[in-house]
């Protein structure tokens, strides 16, 4: 591989669909001694009601508190004795898991994964303890300017009829009301092989890895798994709205401003991602970083981000500034958004960013984690396993007018949500 990068593609990724629908993807990488797993199931906060906010997340976190054959201590002893790690957590669309171990310990890791996914017991006392830990964390976040600005932004951007309005973590009100019976019920209904993906990357043989997964997961069935619910229709903001969250005792304000962005599958997603890079990523955080941090010295961080997941996630700019400089920073950011929808990016900007996107692949794919994430990404959004092979030509095909059209399709400096959390209202 030293003469060029060998990209993961259909020729070197083993993809097997088990008889129950689970998709297994394996990429052999002998360069490291470890193995990494990543994957997801069709069970996120999308499947819960607002009154049960946090149910999917609490269910996922509670899986590792005990199964029918292993208690909390047995699960964690099995993992920690071999220096392995396993995490399960829920987002809006999916419940995801990730794990890492020395390659020789893959069988143990998969066995534990299968046990917690399939046979959780939701034992009362350990789940109560977990709930207390989560509530302590959530209470802490109430004082965190970044968290509060993000929540306020998201709540103002998405109506309460839309799942993106809510935090998948739940709230201080809803979490105490969820019972272990609720968790067990959510698990019984939503956890199952349909829609499940597992990716394995590391110093293992593909055939061995598939057979380990088969051994522990191929007899799993759940005929009751519901179809994926459709997201309600959404209207982007029609005018600019400012929301502020006062938090006493803080020395810095956090700003989150933006609008609704493209889903990963949107036609113009790649063009929008390049626009985002020019606006608030490339180099030291793009044009926004250059203006707000470099030229004006207003902030330590100022950047933009585009979510691009299953649905229309946000496209937003984040900055942390001195409370006295909030308006100045907001105006500078608005100016850059105005500019990016008015003038086409220069040929040089386009070529710099195209070069960055394509040139960065070797770094992204250096580690087992990076490889697993890229393979999961292709499978999750059904981009085709040749997506990385075609990546370069797809990025290089984009023109200045494609970027301008994508920017105009989403961004409007007169219709944004601007949320600020800090010491003063």
């Amino acid at each position: 591989m030293s003469n060029g990068i060998s990209l993961p593609g259909p020729h070197n990724i083993t993809r097997v669909e088990l008889e129950n629908g689970i998709v297994v993807l394996v990429y052999e990488n002998d360069a490291a001694q470890s193995v990494v797993i990543g994957g997801s199931l069709a069970a996120g906060s999308l499947y819960e009601t607002p009154a049960q906010s946090g149910l999917a997340a609490l269910t996922a976190s509670a899986l590792m508190r005990g199964t029918h054959s292993r208690d909390f201590n047995a699960i964690h002893t099995a993992l920690e004795d071999i220096g392995a790690d396993l995490d399960v957590g829920a987002g809006v669309h999916q419940t995801s898991f990730s794990g890492k171990a020395l390659a020789e310990d893959l069988p143990t890791l998969i066995e534990l994964l299968a046990d917690v996914l399939r046979h959780p017991a939701f034992p009362q006392a350990p789940v109560e303890r977990l709930r207390g830990e989560i509530l302590t964390g959530l209470q802490y976040r109430q004082q965190d300017t970044r968290y509060r600005a993000n929540r306020a932004f998201q709540e103002a951007l998405y109506p309460d009829s839309h799942p993106y309005h809510y935090s998948s973590r739940g709230t201080l009100d809803t979490l105490p009301r969820l019972t272990t019976a609720d968790l067990a019920q959510f698990h019984t209904r939503h956890y199952g092989p349909r829609g499940m993906v597992i990716t394995i990357v590391g110093a293992v043989q593909a055939a061995d890895a598939v057979s380990i997964v088969r051994q522990h997961l191929s007899d799993w069935r759940n005929p009751d798994q519901p179809p994926v619910p459709a997201l309600p229709a959404l209207r982007p903001p029609q005018e600019t709205r400012r929301v502020s969250v006062p938090i006493p005792g803080k020395t810095q304000s956090d700003i989150v401003m933006g609008t609704i962005g493209p889903a990963r599958k949107a036609e113009d997603y790649r063009a929008a991602a390049l626009v985002n890079s020019v606006l608030g990523q490339f180099g030291m955080m793009g044009r926004i970083g250059d203006e707000v941090r470099e030229k004006q010295g207003l902030a330590y961080y100022a950047y933009s981000g585009i979510e691009g997941g299953h649905g229309p996630g946000p496209w937003s700019v984040n900055a942390g500034v001195n409370p006295a400089n909030v308006d100045k920073a907001v105006n500078s950011i608005l100016h850059e958004i105005e500019r990016i929808i008015t003038e086409p990016v220069s040929a040089e900007d386009l070529s710099d960013n195209q070069s960055y996107f394509t040139g960065h692949l070797p770094l992204q794919l250096e580690s087992n984690e990076g490889l697993a994430a890229s393979i999961m990404h292709m499978e999750t959004y059904q981009l085709g396993l040749d997506n990385l092979l075609l990546f370069r030509s797809r990025i290089m095909a984009l023109r200045q007018e494609d970027l301008l059209a994508a920017a105009r399709n989403y961004l409007n400096p007169q219709a944004l949500i601007i949320a600020v959390a800090g010491p003063e209202a």
């Binding site: 890492k100 802490y140 400012r242 969250v245 020395t251 810095q252």
Partner: protein, 435 residues
């Protein structure tokens, strides 16, 4: 981790090279032997601020151009300032690394430090500090360090005190740069897809002609032995209480440091080495504090350092529980490891965890290069190579011995973060809408 070669150029630059051919990448690191530990009162935070100024560029590579050049090639670059060093790196596709090599050679001597750029960066750095101040743990650890070190430079935060950030001048910064940035005060490391001979030749070409400077006189004052427990309390508006307990421990070149690393693994779980960490739910303090519902988490920190630093334990206290309760439960566990040997099984687990974490941390060329430079800075790069075998040599008796020697009340600083329920509490979930 075999295959490292060590070289010294005639101007004193130390060069460590390690070939690794599994990915077409090279990581290039230049580390200067200067950090916040050597900063005088009035100039705290100067090393970190100088690091920021190095991104403003030179005649040959102006700041805005630098960024673009590296990003265009898909590279990643950044810098870090610690208590013991200031380090810069570029990780790039192998055929583009020359840019990183040229850039670091150039800014070792040619950084500009214009008055206007110093002023513009002053507010950025103040903003960085203010961002950190939004976290209660920043305030607490700042006070604990300041109490634990009365004399030694480890007493202040790397970011520096606000008073100094407001008053340091362009000349202060530039003089710091000139005094410490020179080949004989630097360690350069490359790991990745290259041939050693060709790489060394190119490094000679680019760095060999940079003149050595006068070896910097380092401001370094040893901390006198602590005699008696110290206590600090921080009270600020918040909702959550924290406890931090910090014990003085020896420098990481000392054998005892490895014994303490095993002890930390038993008490709070193993420390990650930059390749991903693992959980600590079977550790002693997790069982004693988290499973008993006194705290929401507990963490231990043992950092490798040039001079004797701190081993600290930090816990997030659950609502309704008190600092006193958590301290009592923690002391009980500390007394146990001081009075009785840990089990052989706990020792074996700690060693296996260390092997796994070490394997994880050596997967990326960037983290290998970082660890080699890091180890060379306070000892020799072989510290990193021998890390696992030195841990393997630790016995259960060793662990008890270091617990007795260092985890004494007389040798510690206890910090409480006490949340003040201010006006904010009742309208915690309110938002003001200003349409």
């Amino acid at each position: 981790m075999a295959g490292v070669t060590r070289h010294q150029l005639s101007n004193g630059l130390t060069v460590l090279l390690k070939e690794q051919h599994n990915a077409p990448l090279i990581s290039w690191w230049v580390m200067y032997r200067i950090g916040s530990r050597n900063e005088r009162t009035g100039q705290t935070g100067i090393s970190h601020w100088v690091e920021h100024m190095m991104f403003k560029g030179t005649e040959q590579f102006p700041g805005s151009v630098l960024d673009k050049l590296i990003s265009r090639e898909g590279g990643s670059w950044n810098a870090m300032t610690s208590m013991d060093y200031t380090v810069y790196y570029e990780t790039m596709p192998a055929d583009q690394i020359d840019l990183g090599l040229r850039l670091e050679a150039d800014r070792m001597v040619n950084a500009r430090f214009t008055e206007a750029e110093v002023e513009s960066e002053r507010t950025v750095i103040i903003s960085e500090r203010q961002g950190a101040e939004n976290s209660p743990l920043f305030w607490l650890s700042e006070e604990v360090r300041a109490a634990a070190f009365r004399v030694h430079g480890y007493h202040h935060e790397i970011i520096g005190d606000m008073a100094d950030l407001e008053t340091m001048t362009r000349d202060d910064l530039y003089n710091h740069y000139r005094r410490h940035y020179m080949p004989n005060n630097a360690i350069a490391v490359a790991v990745g897809d290259f041939q050693t001979e060709a790489m060394l030749k190119r490094i000679e070409e680019l760095y060999g002609s940079i003149p050595a400077g006068d070896a910097p006189k380092l401001f370094a004052r040893p901390e006198p032995e602590q005699a008696g427990e110290r206590r600090v309390i921080v009270e600020r508006p918040h909702s959550t209480a924290f406890l931090e307990i910090a014990y003085h421990v020896p420098a990481s070149s000392h054998d005892d440091w490895f014994k303490l690393a095993i002890l930390n693994s038993v008490l709070t779980g193993p420390s990650g080495m930059g390749g991903g960490s693992i959980d600590n739910k079977t550790s002693r303090l997790y069982k004693a504090l988290v499973e008993t519902e006194l705290t929401a988490d507990v963490d231990g920190g043992l950092m490798a350092s040039i001079d004797p630093y701190l081993y600290d334990l930090v816990a997030t206290i659950r609502p309704g529980r008190t600092h006193e309760e958590v301290e009592a439960a923690l002391d009980e566990q500390i007394n146990l490891v001081r009075n009785e040997n840990i089990s052989q099984q706990e020792l074996d687990k700690a060693k296996k965890q260390a092997r796994a974490l070490f394997a994880y941390s050596t997967e990326r060329v960037s983290s290998q290069a970082y660890w080699l430079a890091f180890a060379e800075n306070f000892d020799r790069y072989t510290w990193f190579e021998n890390y696992v075998s030195r841990l393997e040599a630790v016995t259960v008796e060793d662990v008890r011995e270091v617990a007795q020697r260092y985890l004494r009340p007389q040798n510690r600083t206890v910090g409480w973060f006490v949340p003040l329920a201010g006006d904010g509490d009742e309208d915690m979930d309110d938002m003001e809408d200003e349409e």
